[in-house]
Symmetry: D2
Subunit: 313 residues, 4 copies
């Protein structure tokens, strides 16, 4: 009686759709371990969450350097910052472009923290790769397949954000585009989805259920962006702790120094979701305490995560 | 150029829509404190999360008593269990009804733990009130206004679950129906919303952003149901910890002893999301450690929550 | 590798969940015909759409009578009007109650048009049944199972609106509650669902795909409410025509005479979605022309609809 | 009490975000007329819907030519067909690429019908522009801003499909990227959105409310893709008629000849949503009859649409 609907895929199709990254086709990961992705001295997927922090957009060298030093002091492992910004309107600030890349490189070199930045344009993958340690594919680009292929070919580690309406299958399909070019250095990033609550009391709906689901279906690490998933600075700390408790392999957080010092300026984009370096420091401390506590106590936090993966959940 | 759309309400309308429960109209709660709801010796809204646990449905006296003793031993503060079950099909198990209520009362008396159970039928509010310590209004009944009015009139504490597509305004409007009958003993409960991910890798989408949003808009306590919000037993522990980190005033968890002992049976409903008493015990320990640790260290966990409320976030 | 999620049902489960109303279990409806539901002289499911019109809420006898005469003159087959109104806040106008029922009865008697009105309270099913020709179960009540059971027992025809987040399975499960009490006089009504577009440019998202899906899965008639599905008076005519082209067995439309005459008042609820009697007349004419044209030309409009049903699509 | 959420935009922001295409900033379109977009001899926005039809993907010259002749005979105004296909998995058929473009050109030249085809890769805009009469930006690329800019610079007419979770603001923002490069030859295309119904009984949720909303906010024409919005061939005819009644300026339909003739093959993608040329012919006839009937009768169908636009609805 039922009639077929075009284009339906389910998790059962992953063996065929994503043979390179699916746990189903990789018995060597049956013990539940993640593939470890290295970005400089930083490693994702070890069980210790990676903390990435920085401004939404690079706005000037002075401010970027200042902020990079602040987030390093707060305990971050990596820097983030946008040189090319995808904006809803062409009349909004689009980022500093190449100048932004150079500033990011300088900030990275100064602090010793590897840097991730977004590439939106397939023609700029090579350029961005010269300056960044990791390429970010943003939510709006998750199904920009030519971009995924070039990011794969670049050999650079890739941070692949989830599209705001992406199913898990669609997201993993996007990762497969990168992986099938021979590049397994992929870290997935949940950042909130669009739902009927759209904008009533949060920017997006943080979907933490997807974190263990990703870990069950692929051996790639997965982190969470609590800044976009809430859209409100006052919730980022709560969301960060929640993401870690849910098993996230790291966090990607927007930070600003707005309101501090004589010339502190409101950020040009997404000011309302940027936390201060002090809040970042509390989040880092939380992560470290939880993890060391978990290890010393043989806490279910670590064993559970491992079990969840081992049993394919 | 724009034309008005019927029926639009925003949080700005809460002063008018929900004058009894809105923080906006209650300067006495401006310090960010919650109204404390008492259920027997249990108090919601004190800063110490309340743990409610029990089976999806009451299935027999022997099994309910056994489970009640188990969850008490695991550290739960209150019992849950369904005597009247809302089921998608009339041909599914509908609960034991009055017999179930009697069993719940017996289990509560034996353990000393107060019990909450769902009432779906406005004609049964009085009957259920005779046996239960707290009335649960389920998600499907969130906008059953006659039921809300009678629950309000009963004077009993009420656990009001969020409808699966309810906006925050609609949810608080439902609470106002209870409150405007003179009954402020209301605890709200987030339990996951319907989104485009429907069923791909979780039962619902756990919406933790709504927890601080509720706390900003009303002084009523709010708890989280990680069982329905995930639909998978293997994720309930993660979701519970995440909810606590997000500031939840408690947890409502489904537990079973399925698979243990010679005659342990699969629960008649929602078996796939019921955790064991051992997992419950770990969750209780997590909650207690976090809270005592937070207090001894003057941890942002408590001060932040208070701050968030004080500043109306 | 995948783990089971609690509570998942698909259309394949309908034989078990909804044996009374599923086409799958009723070979006598294999020819694609609908079950015809009679409300007085009006019949749903014949292939000729039924036009139901009237105010959101009954506000006074004079205005209801005036409007009833207007919608009859415009060609409507049935009256609608709310005596008991489900409102988001208890402080909004709740309807005239019993007085409203009496006014509706008088308007029906005067015009000869059968009347449908909402019943929200299970205790009032008997009362409302004394005055109304058809009981409406509103969206917020779609899963009020005790109410569905009593509506079934009343023997009255029932108009069952879809919940705003209901899956097709959940909606048909609700209809099964009525039907399994021996009452097959059920007409389903799509009225828009909640989506991420919530309120940006329409009240709900009109989901016309569900109309043929209902017709494929059950032999019960299904109509569309273009008023709530758009929330804007200026779109109701377009939405009505679209629903008819999609195969709807009728329309449920809100009408007012606001702005006409010296004392015409803005309706107390949902004013922005109420059309004028003139617009209703154009919609009625459209429906009649399309249907007579379709029959005289042996148009795919009718044969397609029949075919769609016959082949179970 | 409320705190600001980052990234919120509403229709009120369109004057600033989309000054090039917003009606709000263009009093010369205050009479409600649309900007007419020309593609060869075809014009969008005249009040007469444009019919675009063809296969999902170009699969061979012989089949494409055969199908092009069929859709021309059925009355289509333009051809569609994919040479570069965005697919969820890299292991699915990706299209014939340049060979596909050449086949499309040949089919267009043979039939005299202009052809639209998707371009996904910013590096291929120039190449595709050499073969196609109109560039399609697919749903997955709606926020591929570098691609939008290049499509704008190409000077070619652009068909901009709505992203599956795009708000109206985001969609119009994407159009503004094209327009602000000096290219106003933009036709918008609604193709269904992702909702909680995802895949239960349709591929996407057809959102017809957005059609008049687009017409109120911009003077650009807007068409509907009933193939993706339903995902089922048996519903495309209904959905096409509904879209026309809702005021759509045209239709984009997938057609195949699968199942006809000795060597007719199942299409390599989206076979379940492709209609036959016979069904297409019925849709074309419906459109022509409705429009000529509307004109001869001074039908609200045309006057209403004009009024809706004139009054900014």
């Amino acid at each position: 009686m039922s009639q077929k609907i075009a284009g339906q895929v389910t998790l059962e199709d992953l063996s065929r759709m994503c043979p390179t990254i699916s746990r189903r086709t990789h018995p060597e990961f049956a013990d539940g371990c993640a593939f470890e992705v290295e970005v400089g001295a930083v490693r994702f997927g070890t069980g210790v969450p990676v903390m990435i922090a920085g401004p939404c957009a690079v706005e000037s060298e002075r401010r970027m350097i200042e902020l990079a030093l602040s987030v390093k002091a707060a305990g971050a492992d990596m820097l983030r910052g946008g040189a090319f910004k995808p904006r809803t309107s062409p009349h909004d600030f689009q980022g500093l472009g190449l100048e932004g890349l150079k500033i990011l490189r300088a900030a990275s070199d100064l602090t010793g923290l590897p840097v991730v930045t977004e590439v939106m344009d397939v023609r700029l993958v090579e350029l961005v790769s010269q300056y960044a340690d990791m390429l970010q594919i943003g939510s709006r680009s998750m199904q920009n397949y030519p971009l995924l292929v070039e990011a794969g070919r670049s050999g650079k580690p890739v941070l692949l954000k989830r599209g705001m309406a992406a199913s898990l299958c669609e997201w993993l399909g996007a990762a497969e585009y990168i992986a099938s070019e021979g590049n397994l250095n992929i870290v997935l990033c949940e950042r909130g989805i669009k739902t009927h609550t759209a904008g009533e009391y949060s920017r997006y709906t943080l979907d933490l259920n997807v974190v263990p689901a990703v870990q069950a279906e692929t051996f790639l690490p997965v982190i969470v962006d609590p800044s976009h998933a809430t859209g409100m600075a006052s919730r980022v700390e709560q969301a960060s702790r929640a993401a870690i408790e849910f098993g996230s392999d790291g966090l990607l957080i927007e930070v600003s120094t707005w309101g501090r010092g004589p010339d502190a300026q409101r950020p040009l984009c997404d000011a309302d979701q940027a936390i201060t370096p002090e809040t970042l420091r509390r989040i880092v401390e939380f992560v470290r305490e939880r993890k060391s506590g978990a290890q010393s106590r043989n806490d279910p936090m670590t064993s559970l995560a491992r079990h969840a993966r081992a049993s394919g959940r």
